[in-house]
């Protein structure tokens, strides 16, 4: 047990290092930097290159990493983060998602895609005590974590720039009025955060021993969880969060096996948030201010089409399956399925103003529910489709029940946890779901007992379902309930003062969104005829959120357009595969900077 605890502590130290930079950036700029993991990977790959190709030692390697990650941080801050300043933080969040994709794929282009051994800059297992073996690198890592914390604390407490950083993080408007150059202060904080990420990369490389340029994603997600557990914006919190996560994983996995890994990681996150709603050392977020939530630009509203135009568009859409080729119809099914999930999300993320980062969870629940209902209980497809919606909505409501008392960014973070926990439960519940083995031989969708076997038939089905979902969601939006959701999204505090139970209504909007996601999952399961837990990954969640941001958060029609562009266009533009995904990241960034309200929204005039 001592050995397990010790290894958990060391692994936790690695998480902590990655989380510190993230927490600093968050505290100052209010940006949840989803590219932080990619910056860690930049540091790791730089260290690999100078350490193995050039044979440099530890100190010059650290200097090189500081230089490179500092520069990358500076450039990306100037090009991506600064232009988004003053916008709703979700803009910056999605900007960093795009940035992460550009960095990851750029590194793969530069360094090649293979997994490679990390150079032994420091001995890793040369020391023994109490039956435990550890290395100089572990000691140095601990010291670096401690030193960076102390140095940051001293810098923030005594340094002029540090004080300015704190002032900016507390109230950027007031800081500006007091003569603090807020923009440069944010830049400095972002560069420091990037450098810390780079240094973390060196130690993560030493710890992992085998590295890949695409490692950033997983590292970033764990760092984010660790930072949230510790309390976003708190440096000591990030370290505590990292250590707690490392220990929980070591003990849990040691006892129950690695199958429960995600359940432990994200379960710990949820548990901590429920018991301590702003993490261990986070500042208590104030009720009205939900900086990561809200519509992208406050003053955007969807373009409204007259009824007959909507009907015309619907008729046109319904005609497409009859003239589309197999290929176009095949792409169309994917576009429609993602659009269904995204349309539902406009209710909670658009209207009610609550960012949801884990929608792949309810999609998975819907997929499994419908597959199992048809395979085990022999329900007809139409019925199982509805069943999937109800089960996904119920499962999501049950699991998120404690979440709605949280405030600020923590709700959005908790939804990541809920999504991951759903998939983890599917993985563990083997007697029902066959776990990692996946479900094979799911029947094709049927209509009046006839299987829909061509791409055109499936596309037509998906379109009809999409139109129904659009109709239902639009109806809800224009009803009294929809106006309540809007009121909460516009100003949660005002809504609360008027006696509206914001948490309960958000839960309702979320349940409705999860119902739509469940339908999308069911369609997906019956068309792929095979599902397993790996299909429902965080990339799917991010994609669905990105779709509505691109289309216009408050516009269900915009969600369809967003899906057309983000799911359909990469399929139609199959040129230059090496840079396809990088281009996608760039387009995302450019869109968020140039048309923040989304494609299918107009700016509201004052």
């Amino acid at each position: 047990m001592v050995e397990t605890l010790f290894s958990g502590l060391i692994h936790g130290g690695v998480y902590a290092l990655a989380a510190v930079g993230m927490s600093l950036v968050f505290g100052v700029t209010n940006v949840a930097n989803f590219a932080q993991g990619s910056l860690v990977a930049v540091g790791m790959m730089t260290a690999w290159w100078v350490g193995s190709s050039l044979g440099w030692g530890l100190v010059p390697t650290i200097l090189a990493v500081v230089l490179v990650t500092g520069l990358v941080g500076l450039i990306t801050n100037l090009l991506v983060i600064t232009p988004l300043e003053g916008r709703q933080p979700i803009a910056a969040l999605l900007g960093t998602v795009g940035l992460g994709q550009v960095l990851d794929n750029g590194m793969q282009l530069i360094f090649g895609s293979q997994t490679r051994p990390f150079p032994q800059l420091l001995p890793t297992h040369n020391l023994h005590a109490l039956g435990i073996s550890f290395g100089t690198s572990d000691l140095v890592m601990g010291l670096v974590a401690l030193a960076s914390m102390v140095a940051l604390w001293a810098f923030l407490t005594y340094g002029r720039t540090g004080q300015a950083i704190r002032a900016t993080s507390q109230d950027s408007q007031a800081a500006l009025q007091m003569g603090v150059p807020v923009t440069s202060i944010r830049t400095i904080a972002f560069v420091i955060g990037s450098v810390l990420a780079g240094i973390a990369g060196i130690f993560i490389g030493l710890f992992k021993t085998n590295i890949n340029p695409m490692d950033g994603n997983a590292i970033g997600m764990t760092a984010f969880v660790a930072a949230a557990i510790g309390g976003l914006g708190s440096i000591p919190g990030a370290i505590i969060g990292g250590l707690v996560l490392g220990l929980a994983e070591a003990v849990g996995v040691g006892l129950f096996g690695d199958g429960v890994h995600d359940l432990i990681t994200f379960g710990t996150l949820l548990l901590v948030l429920i018991l301590k709603p702003s993490g261990f050392l986070g500042r208590k977020a104030d009720m009205g201010k939900e900086p990561m939530t809200g519509t992208l630009p406050e003053a955007a509203r969807p373009i409204r089409l007259p009824l007959w135009a909507n009907l015309g568009l619907a008729a046109a859409a319904l005609a497409t399956p009859f003239i589309f080729s197999d290929h176009l119809a095949g792409i169309g099914t994917q576009v429609a399925i993602y659009a269904i999930a995204a349309v539902g999300l406009t209710l909670i993320s658009g209207s009610a103003g609550q960012t949801i980062l884990g929608l792949a969870g309810p999609v998975a629940v819907g997929a499994y529910a419908s597959a199992l209902l048809t395979m085990r209980l022999h329900w007809p497809f139409t019925l199982s489709l509805l069943g999937a919606a109800v089960i996904a909505a119920l499962a999501a409501s049950l699991l998120t029940f404690p979440v709605w008392k949280l405030s600020g960014h923590y709700v959005a973070i908790a939804t990541i946890g809920v999504g991951a926990v759903m998939v983890a439960i599917i993985r563990i519940w083997e007697p029902l779901t066959r776990g990692s083995l996946g479900l094979q031989g799911i029947p094709l969708p049927t209509f009046l007992g006839k299987p829909l076997y061509t791409q055109q038939m499936q596309y037509l089905l998906d379109l009809i379902v999409l139109l129904l979902v659009l109709a239902v969601i639009s109806r809800i939006r224009s009803s009294h309930l929809g106006h309540v959701f809007e009121a909460i999204g516009e100003d949660g505090q005002a809504a609360w003062s008027l006696g509206i139970r914001t948490g309960a209504y958000k839960a309702l909007a979320y349940a409705l969104a999860c119902g739509a996601a469940g339908i999308a999952g069911a369609l997906l399961a019956h068309q792929y005829t095979y599902i397993d837990p790996t299909l429902f990954n965080p990339t799917m969640s991010t994609l669905i959120l990105t779709i509505i941001v691109l289309g216009g958060m408050k516009s269900p029609t915009g969600a369809v357009i967003g899906s057309l562009i983000l799911v359909g266009a990469p399929e139609l533009l199959r040129i230059l595969p090496e840079v396809r995904i990088m281009a996608y990241g760039l387009v995302l960034i450019i869109f968020i900077i140039c048309r923040p309200q989304g494609l299918f929204s107009t700016k509201r005039r004052a």
């Binding site: 997994t115 490679r116 690695d258 568009l313 119809a329 990692s436 996946g438 094979q440």
Partner: protein, 396 residues
């Protein structure tokens, strides 16, 4: 006339709506000609070439495997064309980068299926991605040759879905037999996915039958970065050997953790016959025993030796598991087309009828398919041992 902003908006909305309606009418007009029955396609007929479509990860997380696949595909294709193609028709390979992502597989599959010059499909890297495309190929009467898909249920999608992967039952029985000759008390770890779970079950049954006691067992996730929590109890159970049922990179992580962090000195069974595994483990792989399909340095089969030579001449590197299976996939399909006809129907017919596909893996010789399971259960695995950074084939 002054148009107020409200009027202006209404005006724009009207235009937009009219355009939409006109589009709808135009589309409705096209309705009479078409239906929902799928592409009829043009016949390949007299064309001078045929195509195999490859769905594979050129970019993304699995790009490295895609690169190895493409090397094998290209080499095989050029050899086929040098010998006059398939019944005189030149062979093309159309590459589709899917990143091994199910969504993208499902989207490109109809395009492939409607291209009548395509006589068969190879790929994808992972089984979930491949399986998302299988129903579409099945519907089009197109052979889906999942050469890298050892998932036990992979061929269940239909009678046009085939895999030349050695069945895990055969594979794990050989593995258990090799283990049983060297250890009677073992700890086993296996990868937490469809392949790993099924393989472990077969291994466990065979091992227990052979009198081997499994004193510790646990699965691990493919993307875990720290496996000490499960390897500490694995080592503390005092086994005579540690067995890993997994792939290359995770096998390397396990070997490194056992040797470096936990000072485990006993025998290790696991890893994969790839360059990657060797470079990631370095000295830690010394003595590791792998039940494999191929060894460039150890193979005794003349065909396989010729493959290794031509591969090294072209790419200046030694081929491993992924390169040979990709190479073999194209060779198999070309051989099938040569024996019947280079058409969709011909390939499907040949896979169930031809009994002497040249085999470059395992013990060499030839293989045929089991027409019930559409798997190549006549391929026998071989035992490899790592010695001085190289795989050596060992005889029992």
């Amino acid at each position: 006339m002054v148009i107020t902003s409200k009027q202006h908006r209404q005006h724009r909305g009207t235009i937009r709506a009219m355009v939409a309606l006109m589009t709808a009418m135009a589309m409705a007009g096209a309705l009479s000609a078409c239906g929902l029955g799928g592409d009829q396609g043009s016949s390949a007929g007299s064309s001078d070439h045929v195509t195999i479509a490859a769905i594979y990860p050129k970019t993304g997380l699995y790009a490295e495997y895609g690169k190895m696949f493409q090397q094998g595909f290209d080499l095989a294709k050029d050899q086929v064309n040098k010998k006059g193609g398939i019944q005189g028709k030149r062979l093309n390979i159309d590459y589709y980068d899917t990143q091994s992502d199910a969504k993208q597989d499902a989207a490109v599959a109809p395009k492939i299926a409607s291209d009548k010059s395509v006589i068969a499909v190879v790929g994808d890297y992972s089984s979930p991605a491949s399986s998302a495309a299988s129903p579409i190929f099945q519907q089009a009467g197109l052979v889906h040759y999942g050469f890298n898909n050892s998932s036990p249920t992979f061929t269940n999608s239909g009678d046009h879905v085939w895999t030349p992967q050695i069945s895990q039952k055969t594979y794990q029985e050989a593995n258990a037999e090799a283990v049983s000759k060297r250890a009677k008390k073992i700890s086993v770890v296996y990868i937490e996915n469809d392949w790993g779970k099924e393989s472990f079950q077969y291994f466990k049954e065979a091992a227990e039958r052979l009198g081997v006691q499994i004193v510790y067992q646990s699965s691990y996730l493919p993307d875990s970065t720290d496996l000490t929590p499960i390897l500490i109890p694995a080592k503390n159970a005092a086994p005579e050997a540690v067995v890993d049922i997994g792939y290359g990179p995770d096998g390397a992580l396990i070997a490194n953790t056992l040797r470096d962090k936990l000072d485990y000195k006993g025998p290790f069974f696991g890893g994969q016959e790839t360059k990657e595994f060797l470079s990631l483990t370095g000295a830690n792989a010394q003595g590791a025993i792998i039940t494999g399909v191929f060894s460039a340095t150890g193979t005794k089969d003349a065909k396989a030796k010729a493959f290794v030579k031509s591969f090294e001449d072209r790419y200046h590197t030694v081929p491993g598991n992924f390169e040979i299976t990709a190479y073999q996939a194209i060779k198999d399909l070309a051989y099938a087309g040569e024996k019947t006809s280079p058409t969709r129907e011909g390939i499907q017919e040949a896979l169930s009828k031809v009994k002497d596909f040249p085999l470059y893996q395992g013990q060499g010789g030839t293989f045929r398919f089991n027409t019930k399971t559409r798997r190549a259960d006549t391929i026998k695995p071989i035992l490899l041992q790592v010695d001085q950074g190289k795989f050596k084939q060992i005889e029992e």
